[in-house]
Symmetry: D2
Subunit: 106 residues, 4 copies
């Protein structure tokens, strides 16, 4: 995917705007647009008239996430595996089962 | 990856907390932690003493993104391909080259 | 309040970090910390064990909001009065009563 | 100001949507719209063609901040004074002068 993204960017000569601080800002703005779909929901789910927008909004988050990872040469799958291992330590099953507490409060 | 994530969650009986509104909130909170690494940077890059934290923070964004996509049965790669196609229409090369303007201002 | 804030900042020689882009980032990070207090709530209210943190978190949002307004010489009360007037036009009572729709969907 | 805001809301029968979790989400979405004005700026300042939007965007943040404070009966000025006192302790002038480090790193 990152190849397709970079081709899209290079054709438009947009790399000049993509310092990593701007990438991180863009990631936040797109995450915000995902959240906006849930703004006034009552049952915690997206209103059905808006759910068609979700794939595009998630794609936008993914786009900036891949660009940030690429900028810093981070393998996302590897990073997630490593984070899950850490979280298994921070949240031992016997202490955290069924609780939403932060590890520091367990 | 989503299998590993769900195994981690199921072992802890955490699915009860994961209504999609909470997933979207969590996505935003983790995107925010990525941005925090850039808060006082002067050259728009992460301070070298903090960059070791970035893989974990990006992994956290990826985690919630995958869970949201899974909840709504969205294929992220497919969604991104489709969004890139739309963006190619919205940002024709001849009009958008070298400009950071939004498509509505082109 | 802005006088007290600026005295606090000047004593620490921190104005050098406060370009408006960083102020806007900080505003977002603190808004995020407010949201974090609601992350896993079930009844949409803050858990009572965390509510003591709210005044500090709201104060942090207010702090950056005042600094941004001061930077651009914006009078917040005046800006809010003006925005309310616009919203009264965008959301006429007869069309918007009891509905959470965006003005563009009314 | 809060009186004017509540009158505006009550006329539209919107209080039913304003559980505090939704208020916190809205605060974040509006903070995000402030940040969006800085998305592609190169000199860390808002592009002059967009700066006319800033008073409205800051007003929107202020609106939700006042509603959240009102919901929890928090006096924002008082909360900010109290937070500044705490920050004076956390950031003693001699240790923090000219540094953007977090108090935990001083």
């Amino acid at each position: 995917m990152i190849k397709k993204i970079k081709e899209f960017i290079n054709e438009r000569d947009w790399e000049q705007f993509h310092d990593p601080k701007n990438l991180a800002i863009s990631l936040n703005l797109e995450a915000s647009e995902v959240l906006e779909l849930f703004q006034w929901t009552k049952n915690n789910d997206i209103d059905s008239t808006k759910s068609y927008q979700l794939p595009d909004e998630l794609a936008d988050v993914y786009y900036w996430l891949l660009l940030l990872a690429d900028y810093y040469k981070i393998d996302l799958d590897q990073a997630l595996k490593s984070k899950l291992s850490k979280n298994k330590q921070k949240y031992p099953i016997d202490k955290s089962k069924g609780k939403s507490d932060k590890y520091s409060d367990l």
